[in-house]
């Protein structure tokens, strides 16, 4: 292009605008690294928890701690991706924001699950006395269902914004898992959470990786 000298008419002008907008759109390349990592971690944690509870054994530590551990590689992945990123699209910005809010919400939910049972117990004891505390449950009922709702929100939103069908379908299936989990025990909720990790993030992550390696925009 030698733009300064060359005259161009109104049709060429519109063509140029369209071409450049298409070029900017085609530049969105998601490697799928984060999706693969979080999908793997959630799937392992959910499935191991399910098998532990179903077959009544214990691996010696809380498997969900690997989810916390995964934050460290995520920081490195984000730094590396920002280094090679030459352009930030409005879509990427919106999706990034959704996942940051999701991360904060998961943190708040974990806080809720750890704090509310004891606080509720104190209030219950104050109202009904110490004797009534014998049968008071010190846990949140079907907490897995709430996690499944949270898993579905950013997945479905990302699927809709980026028109990425695997995540769109994953998000919808996750809502179905949520409904199922309302009727199942905590053991089966763990299985659903593990499967949600596979369907929501692991499979879409591999699809994104495959597209990235083939050089296709997504």
């Amino acid at each position: 292009m030698n733009p300064e000298e060359k005259q161009f008419n109104e049709k060429e002008s519109l063509q140029l605008i369209t071409e450049m907008i298409q070029k900017a759109k085609a530049n969105i390349h998601e490697r799928g690294t984060s999706a693969i990592m979080w999908g793997t971690v959630t799937a392992i944690a959910g499935l191991v928890s399910f098998f532990q509870q179903y077959y009544n054994f214990y691996i010696g530590f809380d498997i969900w701690l690997i989810v916390f551990a995964a934050v460290i590689p995520q920081i490195f992945i984000s730094i590396r991706e920002n280094k090679v990123r030459k352009v930030v699209t409005h879509t990427e910005r919106a999706i990034d924001s959704i996942w940051i809010v999701y991360g904060i919400s998961i943190g708040c939910l974990l806080f809720y699950i750890n704090v509310v049972p004891d606080v509720s117990a104190k209030f219950f004891e104050a109202d009904h006395g110490k004797e009534a505390m014998q049968n008071f449950p010190r846990y949140i009922f079907s907490s897995g269902s709430v996690f499944l709702i949270l898993y579905a929100i950013p997945t479905l939103a990302t699927g809709i914004i980026s028109k990425f069908k695997p995540m769109l379908i994953g998000g919808i299936i996750c809502y179905l898992f949520f409904i199922i989990s309302c009727y199942t025990t905590g053991t089966w909720d763990m299985l659903l959470m593990g499967l949600a990790g596979i369907i929501n993030w692991l499979i879409p992550g591999f699809i994104l990786r495959s597209r990235y390696l083939k050089g296709k925009p997504c």
């Binding site: 292009m1 733009p3 300064e4 699209t89």
Partner: protein
């Protein structure tokens, strides 16, 4: 009506740059160079003209010890681009 087209935008490279920037939040100089196939010198001159017109913001910084130039469209640039497209559409409609 065609005479009314904004002379700042009615240049191929400047229009290409603005069209790219309207689609993204921000872009590096190297991205604009790659997409427009322009030379670095020519692109720098046109970016400077767009900056002087208040249509884009240019941020110069260092990233891993290398200079980095980031460009983003301003609200004034968005308005000018919209007016330019509207004028183009009016012109095309009038010539149908």
């Amino acid at each position: 009506m065609f005479k009314d087209l904004d002379p700042i935008l009615h240049s191929q490279l400047r229009l290409a740059v603005i069209s790219l920037l309207i689609s993204v939040k921000e872009a590096e100089f190297t991205f604009l160079k790659e997409k427009t196939n322009a030379t670095a010198g020519n692109l720098s001159v046109q970016i400077q003209k767009l900056k002087e017109a208040g249509y884009i913001d240019v941020i110069k910084q260092f990233k891993d010890n290398y200079p980095q130039t980031i460009c983003k469209i301003t609200p004034q640039g968005v308005k000018a681009f919209e007016e330019y497209v509207n004028n183009l559409q009016s012109y095309l409609s009038a010539n149908k």
